[in-house]
Amino acid sequence: MVVVKLKPFEEILKALEGFKKVFIFGCELGSGRCKNGGLREAVELGEKLKEKGFEIVGIKSPGGTCILERISFPGRELLKEAEKNSEVIISLACGAGTQLIAENVDIPVLTGVTTLFIGAEREGKYFNEYCIACGDCIISETGGICPIARCPKSLTNGPCGGAIDGKCEVDPSIPCIWYLIADRMEKIGTLRKLKIRAPFKDYSKSVYPRSLILEEEA
């Protein structure tokens, strides 16, 4: 899932300078799951903005803001309503969802979050980055654990010399991912795969902006 983080209220306030009527969008899919931009946070933001004298025209949190375009109803209607009745939209959806809203309305769309990463939810308490969408997935070779996203140096031939005592040289509060890879591959009996030199990664596959074109069914 895409993990986002709410911007500090002061920053949102500053961006809203000069506006009065505000429509707030959350997103239940990513932002909601990570409790930084779902309906609850959108309502809370609305309350705080009201206290500061803003008029909150509406608060909505669709099931997925980044697929709004496909939802002709009620998504489209929602955008029309927001555009008609407010001067500005604050979106708590990820960068993609927020841009999609902006593409569909002719009023300013501001973001209330920063999009952080593609991650996994752990113990309902925190989120870890698991994938940087490198476009050339290699985790079948590394026990299903990604060293591209989870090793700061994106090493593919094994750990660096700074991997001491299970900890990562770059941030000792996180494990060196190669310890987890070694444990897992040992357990499933594939460790010896790591004896083979890894090919150079093709970074042309991560040159953005990328597209995925769905093939027409025959």
Partner: protein, 295 residues
Amino acid sequence: MTFSEKLKNGKFIITAEVAPPRGTDWKSVIESIKPLKEKVDAFNVTDNQRSMVRMSSLAMSKLLLDSGFDPIFQITCRDRNRIALQSELLGAAALGIRNICLMTGDFTTLGDQPDAKPVFDIDSVQLIELAKKLESGKLLNGKEIKGSVEFTVGAVYNPFAGPKILQEWKLRKKVEAGAEFIQTQPVYDIRVAEEVNDLIEALGAVPIIGLLPVKSLKMANFMKKLNPTSVPDKLIEGLEKANDPAQYGWDYVIDIAHAIAEFGRGIHFMLVGKTSELAAFIDYLRNDSPYNHKF
């Protein structure tokens, strides 16, 4: 005999580390290592070590060469993608720099400009493959290059990093890819030095064991914090008792150097502080020690 000739002829090797200046005053760096001229076989020129900006290691290597020293040009994957790495290595070859030591590099955020963009396009094993590809007369993409490229390729190994099996496999990959010599992180235990020596030699490369004289108890404790298993208790205890900890730290390392001179192939001094003492020790090894035939 040059460093690379000694390497090929099975001679005992002594290397030391030298950092380019923060700025352009390369002359004082050369001045500081003059007592070691023709004693240390080659000087590793560090590449923005610990992610702190210094003068280019390629430029400093060339200045060393012109001043009569044999440089080992260190280059990391931190700041350059494969295009820049190939270009830099071709430049080194054209300038007559033969010895190179290839490594991943410290991470950007550990230095004093943590806001820099880290590169790490390829890793240390692949960097060795890249250098060998250039030697074969081709760029990575297979295009032929004009002129010859000849390197003596080295790499590094930290015996205290883990997971052990993956570190050893990575070391093996480095040797298979073409590393001829391996310089290690500092070792403070003769038994560890011997194990590492044997491991590297069995893989088919020349081991050059890292030695870093500790100057104080504070420095030893700091290193122990970073890398707990690398600093034995007896070194800490000795430093605690010593009247002159810097001298103790020096003598401690010299004892290990003696042992390596007996069973090993080379030593790498990672801090050129006591230059005249080091020069005297090298003179002793070469002339009066029981191992003088190895030099």
